[in-house]
Symmetry: C2
Subunit: 338 residues, 2 copies
Amino acid sequence: MAKKRIGLHTVRLEQPPVIIGAAAVAGPMEAQGPLGHEYDQTYPDLTIGQSSFERAERQMMIDACNLALQRAGITKKPPAVDYFLAGDLLNQIITATFSGLQLAVPMYGLYGACSTFSEALAVGAKLIDGGYADRVLCAVSSHNATVERQYRYPTEYGSQRKPYAQFTVTGAGAVVLAVSGDGPRITYCTTGKVVDYGIADPFNQGAAMAPAAVETIHAHLTETGRTVDFYDLIVTGDLARFGRDMAIKLAAERNLTLGKNYNDCGAMIYDHTRQDVHSGGSGCASSAIVTCGHLLKEMARGKLKRILVVATGALLSPTTFQQGENIPAIAHAVALEA
Amino acid sequence: MAKKRIGLHTVRLEQPPVIIGAAAVAGPMEAQGPLGHEYDQTYPDLTIGQSSFERAERQMMIDACNLALQRAGITKKPPAVDYFLAGDLLNQIITATFSGLQLAVPMYGLYGACSTFSEALAVGAKLIDGGYADRVLCAVSSHNATVERQYRYPTEYGSQRKPYAQFTVTGAGAVVLAVSGDGPRITYCTTGKVVDYGIADPFNQGAAMAPAAVETIHAHLTETGRTVDFYDLIVTGDLARFGRDMAIKLAAERNLTLGKNYNDCGAMIYDHTRQDVHSGGSGCASSAIVTCGHLLKEMARGKLKRILVVATGALLSPTTFQQGENIPAIAHAVALEA
């Protein structure tokens, strides 16, 4: 077995890369949520002065990257990073590639739907620990108006949504990983498999993704020999409230108790008593803005020491669900330790 | 600088991973082309017995994976590979993710448009050389009927195409990389930046991608200290005939003579005297089926010893070109040495 591999899904980083800078930017709904004060930048509307929602999303990703680079003390242009790893939910990950054009550094585009955040952290950590890079910039984004119209209906239609539907998070998160420095370290990465539990409703992504999250958490704990309690917090990416409850039940079937130290980013972003977001948040930005905006700050404040971020992706396309296919899902876990 | 990095774009693999198996599958037009006899499997039509073109493309990717695994002596199910790295041109790289579902191994989805083939080889090589994997399966695909209708027009419309338009290649290529074994090795990987030279016509992708190819070739040669003549063959991915000529001119401006040892996969796939493909082939499968089907066999026959594969990607989406954006492009190079 490869020397850094400890199981079928998990690798151990020999010299765990450090998160030396991170930033979260968020839209107006997210700014009004319970974590609104934690984001590094928020915008009063969905267009942020751009001529299209797509351009607005791109500007958000670039803003997140620039803020993260600034936090990391990297101010030159083009930034002194060896790779830009990025992805988003738009067709041809066009937010990421147009952001890459502005950043002007070597780039790999990634796609794992809303799991892309932890995919990017994992690939970035391996590029650093493997000796290929000193610094890697990772970024993901999603935007309510670009994503809803691409996957489901333009929001202007005002079509009625089922109670378990989720609300796409508007925002972007960026992380600068480095070979050394101050900050939490990425110690283990658990790469998920694509799973399909028979969900075919594109509004019911929490249900599609919950099994993938539980499979990856189970694999991570089994292969590392850790227990749920080892972590101060295990967060999934964007199962939202219904998916979170389902994950808790599915985990119980595997004798894993996801209790007080478990939550889901999509369930944390909004206040369900006063914000009309149905089951909760979804999108690449869900795990990214909660992690970059809130959790990493909680780690810096000493309130969290060890967290497991399990971003979750629903691998549908409008074509596949119109053709009657199920929605497969995937989840990748990264362990962050202070 | 990170220990395996030799320049801004290029890394040297310390223990160069080996290509222990590869396979190319191709559609009917490709089967009739000059390399038709080289592909491991060809199909008589574009549906290959499936109920949609999308399912046909997926079956092609799976066929290519299974053949490559077979060549590598990996016959168990799920296959004993540590990662499946894959991408394609369909929205949400749905060919890759549904193939990942069937393969049932840990997966990272990649997107670099038609540059995804060399992106996958490069990421895979680093995962092996970095100590994270013993074996990695890389795969990409494209399909004329799925891609044309998604990016431009359904082929059934019979819309007239400009002479510089390209013809999307139908097929898939897969490669099994391993830490040791018999086969050519990946010695250097040069990661491209996103560039934009002002092309906005989605039929003129060769022109959009040629500058990216030349930038990456130039970076590779400068950073490795190699000359064009070091390689028995330098191949770009899918510039086709017009883009190839443009690449030769742009290279000359940088004092690089791309002569007899330079060609483009998109220009090699079809016989332009008898096949109506305008400028030539495009799509992820272009570089993949020429490399997996033909060039790796030429290396096994001893006819080629050192080749540089420079897959090229046009980073457009239908949304961005309808919104009047240019078509940025990227190219990644991998050096294969017997």
